[in-house]
């Protein structure tokens, strides 16, 4: 929105595109998908295409270059207003508010089976938050499984090869299927 090209949201009509604003927003967000350990392992203090720092505001460090790349490529496949609407929708979403401020009430008597999985190094959706959800599900007597997986790959661990995650999801889906009369295949 701080990008003048946003044009109060009318950039499509006016033939503009707030590329810089959206890229910066994505760069900030991207950090939250990774963990401290994963960033250090991947980038550390390595320089980008140079051996010495230039002591300028250029992207001296490899991690800066990486984040810029993430921001720029995101602009190619995402619309700025969609990004705004999605983040706002998440901000305004408050399930407990619809149930007298008590999250557990939202789950009372639900026949749905829940499986909550968290990663130790995820600081975007940390285990403590997942536990709060599990707590509410339990208090609402929902059928819930909860597993925490040890990894240093941060929030994005769910996109990566994580055998324990696969085993848990498979076990959960198989049993949920079996309970509904669907035999697991093979």
């Amino acid at each position: 929105m701080a990008d003048p090209e946003w044009r109060q949201g009318r950039y499509l009509v006016e033939g503009a595109n707030p590329r810089r604003g959206l890229a910066v927003a994505r760069m900030g967000a991207h950090i939250t998908y990774l963990s401290d350990a994963a960033l250090h392992r991947k980038f550390g203090r390595k320089f980008q295409d140079r051996t010495n720092p230039t002591f300028s505001f250029d992207a001296d460090f490899e991690v800066e270059s990486y984040l810029r790349h993430q921001g720029i490529t995101f602009v190619e496949r995402f619309d700025a207003n969609s990004y705004l609407y999605l983040t706002r929708a998440m901000d305004y979403f408050d399930l407990a508010a619809d149930y007298d401020g008590v999250l557990a009430n939202a789950f009372k008597g639900t026949p749905t089976r829940f499986c909550v999985i968290s990663f130790t190094s995820d600081w975007l959706f940390p285990t403590t938050d997942s536990r709060a959800i599990v707590h509410a599900l339990n208090a609402g007597l929902a059928r819930v499984s909860f597993a925490e997986i040890v990894t240093d790959k941060g929030h994005d661990a769910f996109l990566l090869e994580e055998p324990e995650l696969s085993a848990i999801v498979r076990g959960f889906l198989d049993s949920a299927g079996a309970a509904r009369g669907l035999a697991p295949k093979g």
Partner: protein, 225 residues
């Protein structure tokens, strides 16, 4: 060494029914009415929960160790990571028909509060625990003068997760103070087989290697919370 006969298997492993289930698990499972709701506190690898679900029980579990939890969830069981000492308080009254504590009471920090919460959350509680009054344990302490180590309780005192051992007699006293009504009780020999049912308690306390109690709450609700 005379007091610790070597066996190839641990007794819990040896004590298996033809269907592969542990005898103490089968005993607990037999106390649970079909189609009831059960919470298994300290459910380990989920073996008992699985046995119960095979019998049409709606089972939930709490387990302290992450490995145990993840193994259970991968088996499709409704298990969450949690601590009997702290997390039972989160459950509403009368949420379950049975709350089970299998071989875990002696590892809790506050056994009395755990028992009281179990009786609050569930209509009934089923508790199994190793009997520290077994003659072999008494004899070891008497003769060696050191904390007993047996096949079923193989940890040295400094490594053991078991911080609150009790005898069958001690447990009966706890039931008194916690407002629990004893409905059924069974003592098991070292091979997981029930001892004579009509034996007096002192006999169980001496020869039972573990015990299983089915409890309900007395009319007056325990005064907690």
């Amino acid at each position: 060494m005379l007091l610790r006969p070597k066996r190839d298997l641990t007794m819990a492993d040896a004590a298996r029914a033809p269907d592969g289930a542990r005898f103490d698990h089968r005993l607990v499972a037999a106390m649970v009415e079909p189609r009831s709701r059960v919470l298994d506190v300290g459910c380990g690898d989920g073996e008992l929960l699985r046995l119960l679900e095979q019998r049409g029980v709606d089972g939930r579990g709490i387990e302290l160790s992450r490995e145990g939890v993840n193994e259970c969830v991968a088996k499709g069981l409704a298990v969450i990571q949690g601590d009997a000492d702290t997390d039972l308080a989160d459950y509403p009254d009368d949420a379950f028909d049975y709350v089970i504590l299998s071989q875990t009471l002696q590892a809790t920090r506050r056994p009395r509060e755990v028992l009281e919460h179990m009786l609050r959350i569930g209509r009934r509680a089923i508790i199994s625990f190793p009997n520290f009054g077994h003659w072999r344990i008494r004899l070891q302490l008497l003769l060696n003068g050191a904390m007993p180590v047996t096949d079923n309780l193989p940890d040295s005192w400094y490594d053991s997760p078991n911080i609150h051992f009790c005898t069958i007699k001690d447990f009966r006293n706890l039931c008194q103070v916690a407002g629990a009504q004893m409905e059924k009780s069974v003592a098991l020999n070292p091979w997981g087989r029930p001892l004579r049912l009509n034996a007096p308690y002192w006999f169980w306390n001496l020869f039972g290697e573990q015990a299983v109690f089915l409890l309900s709450r007395k009319e007056r609700k325990p005064a907690i919370r």
